[in-house]
Symmetry: C2
Subunit: 307 residues, 2 copies
């Protein structure tokens, strides 16, 4: 799957992932009204609104980008119907040829991480049948519990040819409270980066590893260090746009050939229709506004990288 | 909810939480067969088997204990139907008067943690309706992203009178890879414990805080230090039994009056029928075996605490 991701990035010339993180307030009124008319003001209605919103955006942008990243929290907030919309979104994106990075940030002790890995990237055995739960292509993983929380994911990735992105340095303002603390003279995130590097070498695709890392666009200097420390790992870069990461800061996350990183934007794309820059599209053409925002993001990143 | 938890612990004299972490292999054949006969060898069939298994155990033990802790991973592995079984289990346990600690170990950046907090402990607004997703009473939270990943949970807890248990020192063998690293001469888990202590004082119930901590029974010396460091926080203690934590080691996690901690056992209770000690019950009386195992666990803990 990492080979497929790299190939799709080359083909689209877009090291870009669209974050499908829908709040109900991002969904235009006509889409919400239709969903509520059918399912009522219920969790099912909310899930339907979110799913129809996603579908329209995916249809509008799927030829431009290699991958999407649905954020599990935004679906879990709507309970079981929300998780059904999540699964439907994963399946639909895959049917459109997109690679799906499940932003689930799971991580637990051994046997429990096995269950998360099976449910999101692998299979479970049910009687004589082998079945898949949420079937994303990649998942994000939290390393706080150490390697026996991560290894079950590695095992499933090896079997399924899927991948993970381990949280190393997150994009949020308080990420440094633990991640930047000095351990043996180096920040904790470098130690985690070193662990990611070791795991990455155990699970190689053609040129890149199935084991990647999350490093926030909001910390470009740390990005430079981590790019060198994990030469085989693709870096998933959140924090561009709404969170303040700028295109010129992204160079540090990439190799000289423009590979090695993939930049996420969520609100910048899916809420484009609510922004002044794209107001001309209007609420009815919200998906077209997202398409234009993706094109603008790709151009901005090319500019930032000097491509 | 922390007041209710403490009151129920006093009443039952059982500082015990049963972990509802069902693997399909734990479910007796007759329960599986019945579920598969109705729903086929499908995710729905697996979820039904797990739900019927849970229900029988809950019926058998609910008068003995204050709380249960379903582990989200074990349900997520069965996809959307699994999450439906999770929600059904939460609701059923609550209807039986049990407090439900959702072992979800979520943690993300601000706006995303808000969605997790809303979905698990709070409410979402859908049109004119205010609805709840998974509605647990407590949730476990991963602190790797720092305080802006935890604060949204605090906000919801304050509104809903619910609580969290923050991962401080987990029970697994590799937990020390990050958690034990020395920062300014002290292990990282102490720094996290300090953060928990600060959060705990912002959100007090009568005698205890809505903000608790997870500290593994497998690390009793660290338990002693953390008990002192977080005097207002209840400690959720996993790792007793199957993972190797012993009753005599638990004293460190408790106050002198036998409060301050609640000990989880999962496999030791729900798989009791598969163990030699309880083989006399047979597969048909698996829930009775769990009841006996709960009684034995309570007695063992009383002995360990010298109560």
């Amino acid at each position: 799957m990492i080979n497929k991701l790299v190939e799709k990035i080359r083909r689209t010339q877009a090291p870009v992932v669209v974050g499908l993180d829908p709040m109900l307030s991002y969904v235009p009124e006509q889409v919400r009204d239709k969903a509520f008319a059918e399912y009522g003001e219920t969790l099912e209605g909310a899930a339907e609104a979110v799913w129809q919103f996603n579908r329209a955006i995916v249809d509008a942008v799927c030829d431009l980008i290699p991958a999407v990243k649905p954020q599990a929290a935004m679906y879990e907030q709507f309970g079981v119907p929300g998780m059904a919309a999540y699964e439907k979104t994963v399946a639909y994106c895959q049917s459109k040829g997109l690679i799906v990075i499940g932003d689930i940030k799971r991580g637990d002790i051994g046997s429990t991480s096995e269950a998360y890995a099976a449910g999101h990237l692998g299979h479970v055995q049910v009687g004589s049948k082998t079945l898949a739960g949420f079937h994303e292509d990649f998942a994000t993983v939290n390393p706080y519990l150490g390697s026996d929380g991560v290894r079950p994911f590695l095992k499933v990735c090896a079997q399924e040819k899927k991948g993970i992105f381990v949280l190393v340095k997150t994009s949020n303002p308080s990420s440094g409270e633990l991640q930047d603390r000095l351990v043996d003279g180096k920040p904790l995130y470098e130690h985690v980066g070193k662990m990611v590097d070791e795991w990455s070498r155990e699970l190689m695709g053609d040129a890149w590893s199935y084991v990647g890392a999350v490093v926030g666009a909001t910390y470009p200097e740390m990005g430079r260090v981590l790019r060198e420390l994990m030469p085989k790992s693709y870096i998933l870069v959140p924090g561009y746009g709404a969170q303040g990461g700028r295109a010129e800061d992204l160079r540090n996350f990439f190799d000289a050939d423009g590979l090695g990183a993939i930049v996420n934007s969520s609100r910048g794309i899916i809420c484009a229709w609510q922004k002044e820059t794209y107001a001309r599209f209007g609420a009815d053409a919200f998906a077209e506004a997202s398409r234009q925002a993706v094109k603008d993001m790709i151009a901005d990143i090319h500019r930032g990288l000097g491509l």
